[in-house]
Amino acid sequence: MKYRSVFDIIGPVMVGPSSSHTAGAARIGLMAGKLFGRQPRLARITFYGSFADTYRGHGTDVAIVGGIMGFDTFDLRIPQALDIAKERGIDVVFETSDALTDHPNTARVHLEDADGTFEIVGISIGGGTIEITELNGFPLKLSGGGPALVVLHHDRFGAIAAVTGILAKHELNIGHMEVSRHEKGKQALMAIEIDEHLSKDVLAEIERLPQIERVAIFGE
């Protein structure tokens, strides 16, 4: 079941005009910004499919940039997001691609500053609900069967046990889990699907672990 909550159907509260092209895009941007964890100097956004065809008319461009700056779907500053980004010194570049993707509403968000780069690929599946299919080159295969916890961490012993230990302590059951890394000892990714709602306290507890870089949750 891709949709689990009635508020995916009646909601989100958002700035128009399109839930898939505006609110969904804002959420993809929010996820990117949250995982990058700081204000980027450059945001390069590539639109595919229907996003590429209609992004200007749907405010997909302003929404995704607003999201990167932390604006939620209902933030009335979204229509002015490009001007605000300029004021904040963020260079924004839009590109379109006619490459075939698995979903018609696909965006790739590349963020960078002097300290590093970050990239996600998100799809907007309708009604403002999104899925992240790729994160820093790690493919993400989430079933959509439950909320998913995404954890970027250092590939060190004990990192996985520490995270799953916290989930166990809070009696949260793992439905599906993937761990991937590009290279031994470098950055790695845990994608953990859980059966229940995850509270902010649990999230904060995981984020405080020494091996953890960033944590985000989606599908809530």
């Binding site: 909550s5 159907i9 009646i10 989100p12 958002m14 128009g16 749907h58 309708g126 403002g128």
Partner: protein
């Protein structure tokens, strides 16, 4: 979690509760939250819908100028007493238009189930609430009932214009509203399912062909007709008329039609109304000639 309308109707009927109750209980379970929290969250959505309608009835224009102020025209026409279709239907039409005009103007709305189709559910709700003497709780329940049907559509078919055409957006919204009106009017869960089936059947095949790729033309007027369609479908079900094709099979048919629909007619602005000479001219005026050549 319920997966089909059949399951939804069966649970409600067996337990002798309205469909909204099944949806509320499921949400409480999924979120591990309290009933008060879940109810409160939906009430805030209702407030956003109310504000959007109020704003539209003062007059609102989109950034491009393609849409706006039709809700005011409709409201004034209803007040003139000259209308033919009936005040309640046209009130729903005015309020559905209004919500979608606010959406087109990048104002704040609540997606139901999407932003492009955000007018139908609140439009009908604010039109029927006085006639059906609905209190605040009944209004919030209206949204849970709409949501329960939308939930089945989203999980079994699609609520995205890019994936399934406008039938997946305004079509779904119309069915959702029809089902909710029936519950608010005291109909049975079975009659809600019938109203949904009748409403969606009459939206099947509806393409998503937005002029210049904007959520304006024909979206605003499709929300208007969705509102009218929902009220009529609800009345048909309440009159005892049934649907020969069960609700879940109508949803499957909608999904299949969406899969067969060419990409040009699924929110790409390549075909249909978006490809008429007037639409291309409007597009050129809005975005300039260069873009037009690229397409």
């Amino acid at each position: 979690m319920f997966k089909s309308v059949e399951e939804l109707v069966r649970s409600a009927t067996e337990r002798g509760v309205p469909i909204s109750e099944i949806m509320i209980e499921q949400e409480v379970h999924v979120r591990r939250s309290t009933r008060e929290d879940v109810f409160g969250m939906m009430e805030r959505n209702l407030e956003v819908m109310e504000e959007a309608v109020e704003r539209a009835l003062q007059g609102v224009t989109s950034v491009t100028g393609l849409t706006g102020n039709d809700a005011v025209l409709m409201q004034d026409y209803v007040r003139s007493g000259k209308s033919l279709a009936g005040d309640l239907i046209l009130d729903a039409v005015a309020k559905a238009i209004g919500t979608n005009e606010v959406n087109a103007a990048m104002g704040r709305i609540c997606a139901t189930p999407t932003a492009g189709s955000a007018g139908v559910v609140p439009g009908t709700l604010f039109a029927v609430k006085d006639r059906l003497e609905m209190d605040r709780e009944a209004m919030v329940r209206y949204l849970f009932t709409s949501g329960a049907f939308g939930f089945v559509v989203a999980n079994n078919a699609s609520i995205s214009g890019a994936a399934g055409g406008c039938q997946a957006e305004v079509g779904s919204a119309t069915g959702m509203a029809a089902a909710a009106i029936v519950e608010a009017a005291g109909g049975t869960p079975e009659q809600s399912a019938t109203a949904f089936a009748i409403a969606l059947k009459n939206m099947l095949g509806l393409v998503c062909d937005p002029v210049a790729g904007l959520v304006e033309v024909p979206c605003v007027k499709r929300n208007a007709m969705g509102g009218a369609n929902a009220v009529v479908a609800a009345d048909m079900a309440l009159a005892g008329i049934t649907s020969r094709i069960p609700c879940d099979e109508v949803i499957s048919a909608m999904h299949e039609i969406g899969q067969m629909m060419p990409t040009a007619l699924k929110e790409t602005a390549r075909g249909g109304l978006a490809n008429t000479p007037t639409a291309r001219r409007l597009e050129k005026n809005i975005f300039g000639a260069k873009e037009n050549v690229e397409k």
